[in-house]
């Protein structure tokens, strides 16, 4: 195999040799996409337009751009180009999702348990997703810290987090945090809280403790005390929230509990960045809008649990009309692959205009995650996070042809097909090796085959499945 083939092969297959091999991708790629319908998600849709990416950044958007020497040209005549899709609620590539032993797990950080080889990354890329907010699960009123990543499949894990993305944290309300679906083991004390009343008290208590904690450090620094306070990893992120340095992404379903949280945030003087799921947010859209809080919702999921019974697909429209920044998320490795069609539904249910609907999976989540300066739309100076579609991304008949992040191609549907034969050959060779052969006699039982791959992961403790 020559070098190019090797790299191609590795990128596609996710087999990564030493990081040094990938040094080529560090600065970002150069590419010119020509002749496409470019949906900028910021400045309208441009027919027969070109997008030039240099050093991973969008250098030019317009007509008749010619390629600098040596820059790859993608002929996209008849095709569509959109910004890379951003999923503001995912649990992909996490080896653990919940720390359910305690009601406040703010000391945990999903960044500690990333698995850059999770195949769901590649499948998400094949659905046009380039960026995701990876969240802790919903087992705790105050959950763990989140991480915003770009799906740089094939790269080492440290290249995934988006540089400069503000830190975040998961909050959760309702059913999961009050452990509705968990029966304590005999002898086990039920975890507080068991009601929505207790949930709010847990959160209030945590912020009061965070205030005290902050004061203890201030006192120490002012030499009012002589023992250095204990550095408290539970309370530190809460202090950051109070200081406006950490984004709160609050899982919840019922409007009343999300409203309670908004009031609590008012009391403590911070802004909730997003209400996650927020299936009833349409009932309190003006209250949400007033506070500049975003809503990250399912396009149309409902009725899958009691809390989701008042969910309506018009939620996005009502929120949008009230001026709330709305994003559409997946919370699912499966659904993540078709967020484009979820955005399309916003046109149907209520009539969100096309570009506004597209923003709900691109620029709006970027805003909610505080990364809109560098990604989320096709504008000069932003990252070359782009998707080339065979047709209009809102048409079910369209498919992703190329997904790129910072000008580097991470998914190419044509190459994916050619790779299959090579992978089959590789498998054949590997299976012949001694270490991969089944024992001649005896041996342990094989693994049971499964017919389903779990996709939805944010159901309290179900996430710790690997």
């Amino acid at each position: 195999m020559n070098m190019k083939r090797v790299i191609q092969y590795l990128t596609m297959a996710g087999l990564v040799f030493a990081g040094s091999l990938f040094a080529f991708a560090q600065k970002g790629g150069d590419v010119l996409i020509k002749g496409a319908t470019v949906m900028t998600a910021a400045r309208g849709t441009l027919e027969n337009a070109d997008v030039l990416v240099t050093n991973g950044k969008i250098a030019k958007v317009g007509k008749g751009i010619s390629a600098p020497a040596g820059v790859r040209v993608i002929d996209a005549a008849g095709k569509y180009v959109s910004p890379g899709i951003i999923d503001a609620h995912s649990h992909s590539m996490l080896d653990a999702i919940n720390e359910g032993s305690i009601a406040v797990s703010s000391m945990t950080n999903v960044g500690d348990v990333l698995d850059p080889r999770d195949i769901t990354i590649y499948r998400a890329l094949a659905g046009g997703v380039t960026t995701a907010l990876l969240l802790h699960g919903s087992a705790n009123p105050i959950g763990g810290q989140s991480t915003t990543v770009k799906f740089k499949w094939g790269h080492t894990v440290e290249e995934f987090p988006v540089a400069g993305a503000p830190p975040g944290i998961k909050f959760a309300l309702g059913e999961n945090v009050k452990r509705s679906n968990f029966t304590p083991q005999p002898g086990q004390t039920p975890r507080y809280p068991r009601t929505r009343m207790g949930t709010m008290e847990v959160i209030r208590d945590a912020f009061l403790r965070a205030r005290d904690y902050k004061r203890s450090w201030d006192d120490f620094k002012a030499r009012k005390t002589n023992v250095p306070p204990r550095r408290d990893l539970e309370l530190e992120p809460l202090v950051e929230i109070l200081e406006g340095k950490r984004l709160v992404h609050a899982h919840g379903y019922r409007s009343d509990e999300h409203y309670n949280l908004l009031l609590l945030a008012d009391e403590f003087g911070f802004r909730i960045a997003t209400l996650q799921h927020a299936l009833e947010a349409y009932k309190i859209a003006p209250e949400i809008a007033k506070r500049g809080t975003g809503a990250s919702i399912f396009a149309d999921s409902w009725s899958y649990k009691l809390e989701a019974y008042d969910s309506i697909p018009y939620n996005g429209y009502i929120l949008w009309k009230n001026g709330v920044v709305v994003s559409i998320n997946s919370d699912s490795d499966e659904r993540m692959r078709r967020l484009n069609l979820d955005a399309a539904k916003m046109q149907k249910y209520g009539g969100v205009p096309e570009e506004e609907a597209l923003k709900m999976i691109t620029l709006n989540p970027a805003k909610q995650l505080g990364i809109d300066k560098r990604t989320g739309s096709i504008e000069q100076g932003k990252d070359g996070d782009l998707v080339v579609w065979s047709g209009h991304p809102f048409s079910p008949y369209s498919r992703v042809e190329i997904t790129m992040i910072e000008g580097d191609v991470y998914f190419d549907s044509a190459k994916d097909v050619t790779m299959r034969a090579e992978l089959a050959k590789e498998r054949e060779a590997l299976e012949k090796l001694e270490m991969n052969r089944a024992p001649a006699a005896g041996g342990t039982p094989p693994r049971l085959p499964s017919e389903r791959r779990s996709a939805d992961r944010d159901e309290a403790d179900r996430g710790n499945n690997r």
Partner: protein
């Protein structure tokens, strides 16, 4: 009390069997692989007082020396298993080299919970760094027979339960007392990214946050103590917290931290943690460390590379799914890791990684050689490189005058399947084993015992029927114990119970042989455990055998109850 009696009796017995002090041994006409210098094709090594007294082509054996003719033999520095559970009473299952992700050891967590000893620590079992292997070690030579006969003379040893496995020790693989066996104690703190369900931390997320919090708390405790020591008046006194205190040496880089991490992602997590807290880190397992050579080098972190190479254990079935390509690749790449580390200049040593047959250590080291490692570097990885990582290279790991006389005298190529180790020296004490007549494929005795990678499935032997109840008489020094042995048999597998004054021992997984049987079991007596191996022949309803105990072998006789 009876146990005490027994133990002291054993101890007394072993004292008498101690090697004669002062006499020297000389291995002559041998090929001497010094490792630290050039190999001497024909030379002599002189051993006296537990040390290497002299080595060289021209060295003559002292007049008092017991001379071993080393013609046709190679003398190596005694091999070092740089991570094991040697000397621990219960062989704790180690995280196997299994598939990707096999490094964590969920089992370990459950054991931690099960073994939660009484402790006044503020922390749950599993996150108690003060736990020290030395408290669990047992003295005695025979427990090490199988690994020592393969040429091993020293090992790092530590349990494998919990997130903090606790503090390890480097031990010599022979000795009448734990204190006499120890080469370095404590050696390092050992950490597994395990989970210990049942409280906080209860998930892998919590594992990391709990580790961090404890590190910070230990830092604060240290600061606080300093302040208090300088002027206690007007300052609240710092708590005495033995768990946090145990972390202070690692935060001060006075003690290394060994992270059990096999897969790339686990290693990355370890490297991140090491970086964040400026730890003197070592990666253990490291089977995918070849993917991270740049980072390992830049952070100057060595690898204790597991030789427990993953291989498919699942039987074939048309109803089963094919294995994942990632698994197939992982297994195929692991034997090449050592060569890649060597090429990249990452310091590494070999460890057994939970291999049950010592022989597999060499079989797999040979595979690493096939994978591109030079034999010299492979030998170094089980001698001097290990000593260097353990910071014991001034006394261990090479054949130099003045170093500890830990030696392995090997017949045939050490990487060949017909290797045999007739003589092993530990602290100058000679252990000799007789080569048994070859069987079939010309494998050495170790292979016959160990099975492992190279052994093919033996034909079902013609086994004796040993099932039944026996009245036992155990001839412990100074005391004769009586008891009852009840054996059940299915094919060549036996199970049952052994009841003595000391308690009941459950027997499982024993083997019936042509003329008798053997089993290993753990006797639990008065709150402590003791590993025993029972070997006996049975003929005409008479039982004759030996019980190997940590304190030495004990004769046993018995009669079958009709």
């Amino acid at each position: 009390m009876k146990l005490k009696l027994l133990v002291s009796a054993f101890a007394a017995m072993s004292l008498f069997s101690a090697a004669a002090i002062g006499q020297s041994v000389a291995i002559t006409n041998a090929r001497i692989v010094t490792v630290s210098g050039p190999t001497i094709e024909k030379g002599t090594v002189v051993i006296r007082d537990g040390l290497i007294q002299a080595v060289g082509a021209d060295v003559r054996p002292p007049a008092d020396a017991q001379v071993i003719d080393g013609n046709g033999l190679s003398v190596y520095p005694g091999f070092i298993d740089s991570l094991s559970t040697a000397g621990l009473p219960t062989r704790t299952p180690q995280p196997g080299g299994g598939g990707p992700g096999g490094g964590g050891g969920q089992q370990a967590a459950q054991q931690a919970a099960a073994q939660a000893q009484q402790s006044n620590s503020n922390y749950r079992a599993g996150i108690r760094p003060e736990v020290s292997v030395v408290d669990d070690l047992r003295a005695g030579d025979s427990q090490f027979d199988s690994i020592r006969n393969a040429g091993f003379t020293a090992a790092v040893t530590v349990g494998r339960t919990g997130i903090f496995n606790g503090r390890s020790a480097v031990i010599n693989l022979a000795g009448d007392s734990v204190s006499g066996m120890l080469l370095k104690e404590p050696y390092a703190q050992h950490i597994s990214f395990a989970t210990i369900p049942g409280g906080y931390p209860g998930s892998l997320l919590g594992t990391f946050s709990a580790l961090r919090q404890m590190f910070y708390d230990a830092q604060q405790l240290q600061e606080w103590r300093k302040g208090y020591a300088a002027n206690p008046k007007g300052m609240r006194r710092p708590p005495e917290d033995k768990s946090l205190e145990a972390l202070i040496p690692i935060l001060n880089r006075e003690m290394p931290v060994v992270f059990n991490a096999n897969t790339e992602k686990e290693i990355v997590r370890a490297l991140d943690l090491a970086k964040a807290f400026n730890l003197k880190a070592i990666i253990a397992g490291g089977q995918e460390s070849w993917k991270l050579t740049e980072r390992l080098k830049s952070q100057n972190i060595p690898v204790l590379l597991s030789l427990n190479f993953p291989k498919r254990t699942a039987s074939a079935s048309p109803d089963a799914d094919p294995e994942n390509l990632s698994t197939l690749r992982f297994r195929a790449e692991v034997p090449k890791t050592a060569a890649r580390l060597a090429q990249a200049g990452v310091k590494f040593a070999f460890q057994s990684g939970g291999l049950t047959a010592a022989n597999d250590f060499f079989t797999n080291a040979a595979k690493a050689v096939e994978g591109g490692l030079t034999k010299d570097v492979a030998v170094r990885a089980m001698t001097l490189s290990a000593a260097e990582i353990l910071d014991l290279n001034d006394r261990l790991g090479s054949i130099e005058a003045g170093k500890i006389a830990n030696l392995a005298v090997v017949k045939n190529d050490v990487f060949a399947s017909d290797r045999f180790v007739p003589y092993v020296f530990v602290d100058g004490k000679l252990f000799e084993q007789k080569e048994q007549p070859r069987q079939g494929g010309g494998r050495g005795p170790a292979a016959q015992r160990g099975g492992g990678n190279t052994s093919s499935a033996p034909a079902t032997p013609n086994v004796a029927n040993v099932a039944g109840t026996y009245n036992l008489s155990i001839d412990a020094p100074g005391q004769t114990l009586t008891g009852t042995l009840v054996l059940r048999q299915q094919g060549d597998t036996i199970s049952g119970t052994m009841t003595t004054q000391l308690g009941v021992v459950q027997i499982a997984g024993g083997k019936a042989t042509a003329g008798g049987f053997s089993f290993s079991a753990t006797a639990e007596v008065g709150g402590t455990t003791m590993d025993i191996t029972f070997r006996a022949t049975v003929s005409n309803n008479n039982l004759n055998g030996t019980i190997d105990t940590p304190q030495g072998p004990v004769p046993v006789t018995g009669t079958k109850v009709p």
